[in-house]
Symmetry: C2
Subunit: 169 residues, 2 copies
């Protein structure tokens, strides 16, 4: 499957992955949320090669995740800023950060701490249900076809009547 073919899949994960499903893109976005905005700064902080950085920024601008805005003229220089669409990726980045903090941190502990200015506390991000506000457990969630569902190929496994083997556990 080609990269670009993902955009047309009837799956929100596939479509999102077609935009951010690349290790450099995720690291660039991390830096965007840390207020990094300039080509040279991204390049130095990430250790990414310049051609790759240029191509990733170009793609993020094309997908309206970042906007290229001039911050000086003669010579014109640009910086890359998150759009609202880009800022909406905050839960994705925070979920990734939190998983890394819990499961991949070194002996010294987590590298960054997050403080919520609204309440003043150092916090962890928690994913909750918009209906009742309780934290989400995957086993407490059922999935149904939505209006944008396409082929049965994308249905959850238990909706496909597949002959089960006898010897299963």
């Amino acid at each position: 499957m080609r990269w670009s073919a993902l955009e047309n899949e009837a799956c929100s994960v596939a479509r999102t992955v077609s935009v951010i499903g690349d290790r450099w893109t995720l690291l660039i976005l991390r830096d965007c949320f840390l207020r990094v905005r300039r080509f040279e700064d991204f390049q130095e902080r990430l250790g990414i090669t310049r051609p790759i950085l240029a191509s990733r920024l170009r793609k993020l601008v094309k997908d309206f995740v970042l906007a290229k805005v001039p911050y000086q003229e003669r010579p014109t220089r640009y910086e890359y800023r998150l759009t609202q669409k880009g800022r909406d990726l905050y839960p994705v980045i925070m979920a990734i950060v939190h998983w890394g903090d819990i499961h991949m941190a070194g002996k010294k502990g987590r590298p960054l701490l997050h403080q919520h200015l609204a309440c003043g506390k150092t916090f962890d991000p928690v994913m909750v249900c918009s209906g009742c506000g309780e934290p989400l457990d995957p086993r407490q969630v059922h999935v149904h076809r939505g209006p944008g569902a396409a082929s049965p190929r994308n249905l959850p496994a238990d909706e496909k009547k597949r002959p089960r083997l006898v010897h299963q556990r």
Copy 2:
């Protein structure tokens, strides 16, 4: 930067990305949360080539995100199940799904709907502050060095005293 070098970065995003920062891996995990467990099922649903699927599953098992458990003998057949570490990726996947639902859905609407069994409602996932329970806005969050912080290279941009240009906006 090599793929493997990411694991040793003092950044939780980089470390997480070293595990899941690959488009196929994210799509495989999506299917895991939809109760897909077998090699052939992943292969058919994703349209992924067999060698890539085998290598991704191998890596996820190595990283303790999936466990390879036999479900029959003679011949021994395995299925791939999420571990607790893997289930903890649920917020990451849900954040990705939600962003795709909001920003990348086709005209027909979102492909899947999620129902929370605890409260019965169809819901959206929301990322909130563990301290006060309010939804997170990136502009309301400040970042500080944690015990695992390494070099100043990984600090937020505004903590690095860099000479600012005169002509900035």
